[in-house]
């Protein structure tokens, strides 16, 4: 049967990208002085897997590059060579090249073969150097085997015969039907790499070829080299016998001139290991006497080898079961989530979220209608409705969780950014990440990456000082940048902090004055720090290509705000800076309390509400010229009258006749004065900006059960506004 391999390309591409990312992570984690063998193995495995796939699917450029990677990595993990930082650099560059090649095969751009060749050369040089410096014996047979497997790669080492591989001479006969002259030339070239090649019928005019090859490689390698080009049906390889090549040549596996492999495995059991029913098609084979081997499944007597194998197999029982235990422990750590996950396109998920959103609205509509019916007479209808509500909520929660991704997806790119940039700026920086498993909506994950990159680069460029300066200030030479993510209330907070120089208040103020910004010396630190978000603001003395052009922080702030988030700065001169970004957990649905003012209904996000109460008239105080405050449990809170903000005619104007909703945002509290509370809803957020325009104090809108539009209050903005009034 024929299989169209192309249908597996996409899986291979995805898989390779993941492997490359994993490889990079391990590389960046690798400590040059004491490399972790597990990491080296993981890197090797990644290269190995990509190579295997690339070979199967015929992406030869990737096979070459991964082969070079693998060769060097193999030496590293076998301890034949010490890890050096230039190797890590070369590995990273190789990873980049493979990424490009991958993109090329995907039809997205073109890999530069010159760059690939350069990196290949570099890797080769590094792995060859090893051989010179190495005290340990050079690699065993594996090397030549591998190089013939990837016959595009020229490896001189491959031709060095190892002491236990006997020199073999093969006679090769094949028909070149359907093979182009160029391919044949290429084939001969490859065969010459295996050993001394002699054409036994040089004046040949027909399609049939007869060659003699003296090589240190085994028959299988020769077969593989040829089978790439020649139809195996037309190919015959035998051991060469000098006297009369054709007549007395024996089939390889029965003769004495076998490779070491076949010899050792088939010794004393040659008759059992009959290839009679197998065409000589290496690339696979069976072990004589092995369980269920096709030729002699029920042969009772087995070769000494096999007997020994079984004995040791059982003798080792105890130790291997303990090994087994330890490996299953590892299993828990690196759980293979692959088996229990599927790939789904994001469009499908979004569609589902939209549909659930509509369902939530429909459910609300129904609930509103049903509420008009007598609960006693329509008991079943009411209980059905409450069940529907519960199920809708559960469904919505699980659908929303599909979109949630751990923030490690973003964090994982920074080790490389920091490494490259630190090298460029000649600074020593360590990157720490905390709370990588904090989950965030996929939409936010994608949008947060760029602003966060900017902040990390800023920290590195402006924050962290060079080692000498740090030492002078009594700090460790290594600067530290910490990325931290955690949940707080209904938000997710992402912090970028560094232990660098901190923001210089005087410098920022001076710069602001120079630019004609309205500043004065009595401003709070918060206000001063906020100045760096002004467009075109930069205090960098030197403009570098990293940062300092003042393009950026305003963009960062705008991006964060467009996600419904806030950005805050804390800084201490000489001690460091911490920038925190606060984002809503999800973009689509929110739990809200509906309140009325006059004829209008508003939604207050539930996350911000601490309590609702009807105040006693005595608790309301008027602070002259600064509005009203209410005393709640000994605390005086500013009263924010919603009807005043939106210029509405309320049903009640006396605070003690209405309801106060106590809001808490950014550590500040305020009391929102409304006419009445209606109920708790889950509402689907519809953007007001994209459908109308941005309205101060409103973060969005939703459609209520009765089909009316209700505005969702921007609680944080309302609370902050109330603070500014009374400060």
């Amino acid at each position: 049967m024929s299989t169209d391999l192309e249908q597996f390309y996409e899986i291979f591409f995805e898989e390779s990208s993941e492997l490359l990312a994993e490889m990079e992570t391990c590389l960046l984690r690798l400590d040059v002085n004491s490399p972790d063998l597990e990491d080296l193995n993981a890197i090797f495995r990644a290269a190995h897997s990509i190579k295997g796939g690339a070979g199967t699917f015929g992406f030869t450029d990737m096979t070459e590059m991964t082969h070079m990677l693998e060769t060097l990595l193999d030496k590293l993990r076998k301890g034949e060579l010490k890890v050096r930082s230039e190797m890590i650099d070369a590995f990273l560059r190789a990873g980049d090249v493979i990424k490009e090649q991958l993109a090329g095969h995907r039809g997205e751009g073109q890999a530069d073969p010159a760059v690939a060749a350069a990196v290949c050369g570099e890797l080769k040089k590094l792995s060859d150097e090893t051989q010179d410096l190495s005290v340990v014996a050079p690699t065993p047979q594996e090397e030549p085997e591998e190089s013939s497997e990837i016959n595009q790669v020229e490896t001189e080492i491959a031709e060095l015969p190892t002491e236990d591989t006997a020199k073999n001479i093969f006679s090769i006969e094949f028909l070149s039907t359907g093979v182009s002259a160029a391919t044949l030339d290429h084939l001969f070239e490859n065969l010459k790499h295996l050993g001394a090649l002699e054409n036994l019928a040089p004046t040949n005019t027909s399609d049939s070829y007869k060659l003699k090859l003296a090589t240190s490689n085994c028959e299988e390698d020769v077969w593989e080299t040829l089978a790439f080009v020649v139809d195996p049906v037309n190919l015959k390889i035998e051991t060469f016998v000098a006297e009369d090549a054709e007549a007395s040549a024996a089939v390889i596996d029965h003769s004495d001139g076998t490779t070491k492999n076949t010899e050792s495995l088939a010794s004393g059991n040659e008759d059992d290991f009959s290839m009679a029913d197998l065409p000589p098609a290496p690339g696979y084979g069976f072990f004589p006497g092995a369980p269920a081997a096709p030729s002699d499944i029920d042969a009772p007597e087995s070769s000494p080898n096999v007997g020994q194998q079984q004995n040791t197999g059982y003798g080792k029982n105890e130790s291997s079961s303990s090994l087994n235990k330890s490996s299953s422990k590892n299993a828990a750590a690196s759980s293979a989530s692959e088996t229990s996950s599927i790939r789904v396109s994001i469009e499908k998920v979004d569609q589902m979220i939209n549909l659930v959103g509509e369902l939530v609205i429909t459910q609300a509509m129904l609930a509103q209608t049903v509420s008009q019916y007598d609960p006693v007479l329509f008991e079943k209808l009411h209980s059905g409705m409450s069940q529907l509500e519960r199920n809708t909520r559960d469904l919505q929660e699980s659908v929303m969780s599909i979109r949630m991704m751990p923030i490690s997806f973003v964090f994982s790119r920074y080790p490389r950014v920091v490494r490259d940039l630190a090298a460029k700026l000649n600074k020593r920086v360590e990157l720490k990440t905390v709370g990588e498993n904090t989950e965030l909506d996929k939409g936010l994950i994608e949008k947060i990456a760029d602003p966060l990159t900017h902040l990390v680069r800023n920290s590195l460029d402006h924050g962290i000082e060079v080692a000498e300066k740090r030492a002078a200030a009594g700090k460790p030479a290594h600067g530290t940048i910490t990325l931290r993510a955690f949940h707080q209330g209904g938000s997710i907070v992402i912090e970028v902090s560094d232990d660098g120089a901190g923001l210089n208040r005087g410098k920022i103020l001076a710069k602001a004055k120079e630019r004609g910004l309205p500043v004065h010396d009595g401003m709070t630190d918060q206000e001063v720090w906020a100045l760096i978000f002004e467009a075109g603001f930069s205090t960098a003395d030197q403009v570098t290509d990293v940062s300092g052009r003042g393009v950026g922080m305003d963009v960062v702030k705008r991006n964060i705000q467009s996600m419904g988030g806030r950005i805050d700065i804390e800084s201490a001169l000489g001690a460091g800076t911490r920038i925190s970004i606060r984002l809503p957990l999800t973009l689509a649905i929110l739990d809200g309390l509906s309140v009325t003012v006059g004829d209008e209904m508003f939604i207050v996000p539930l996350n911000y509400i601490t309590e609702s109460l009807q105040p006693a008239a005595a608790d309301i105080k008027t602070v002259s010229g600064q509005g009203r405050v209410v005393q709640v449990r000994g605390e005086y809170l500013p009263v924010v009258a919603l009807h005043e903000i939106f210029n509405l005619r309320p049903k009640v104007t006396n605070v003690h006749e209405g309801i106060l909703v106590i809001l808490e945002a950014e550590g500040h509290k305020a009391a929102l004065f409304v006419d009445d509370l209606v109920g708790q809803h889950q509402v689907v957020i519809k953007s007001l900006e994209s459908n109308y325009r941005r309205v101060q104090g409103v973060s969005g809108a939703t459609i209520m059960g009765d089909g009316k539009v209700a505005l969702i209050l921007d609680t944080a903005a309302l609370v902050m506004a109330s603070q500014q009034e009374i400060v």
Partner: protein, 121 residues
């Protein structure tokens, strides 16, 4: 009766290619992502053949072989090792661990079916 094959490879693309090929030829296929996974699955299913990669995280193919051969119902089941390492060393190791035979990667679907056909018909 439909023959069942346990296909073990940490590479999803290879695994799916193998699965597709084998299913197309009328075999039932159980997939496993590494040795540990395969061992777990072998405990729950009786298969007619195991096809395993060597170089895998958690538990490699050799360890899997060794452990499978200790299970009474896997003692005589054909186990083929599927590996890019065509070296004699690897084959000897595979044999010592109890492999029935080997198949070199990269391979094409035709060759895979051919070798499997020889073992379980």
């Amino acid at each position: 009766m439909v023959k069942t094959i346990l296909a073990v490879d940490d590479s999803a693309s290879i695994r799916q290619m193998v699965t597709f090929t084998l299913k197309g030829a009328g075999y039932e296929v159980i997939q496993a992502v590494d040795g540990q996974d395969a061992l777990d699955k072998a405990n729950y299913h009786q298969v007619n053949l195991v096809l395993t990669d060597i170089n895998m995280p958690r538990m490699d193919g050799l360890k899997l072989l060794e452990l499978l051969r200790k299970l009474a119902n896997y003692k005589n089941i054909p186990i083929l090792i599927l590996t890019t390492e065509s070296g004699d060393e690897m084959k000897a190791k595979g044999r010592a661990a109890g492999a029935t035979g080997w198949l070199v990667k990269p391979f094409d679907p035709k060759r895979l079916l051919e070798v499997i056909g020889k073992v379980i018909g």
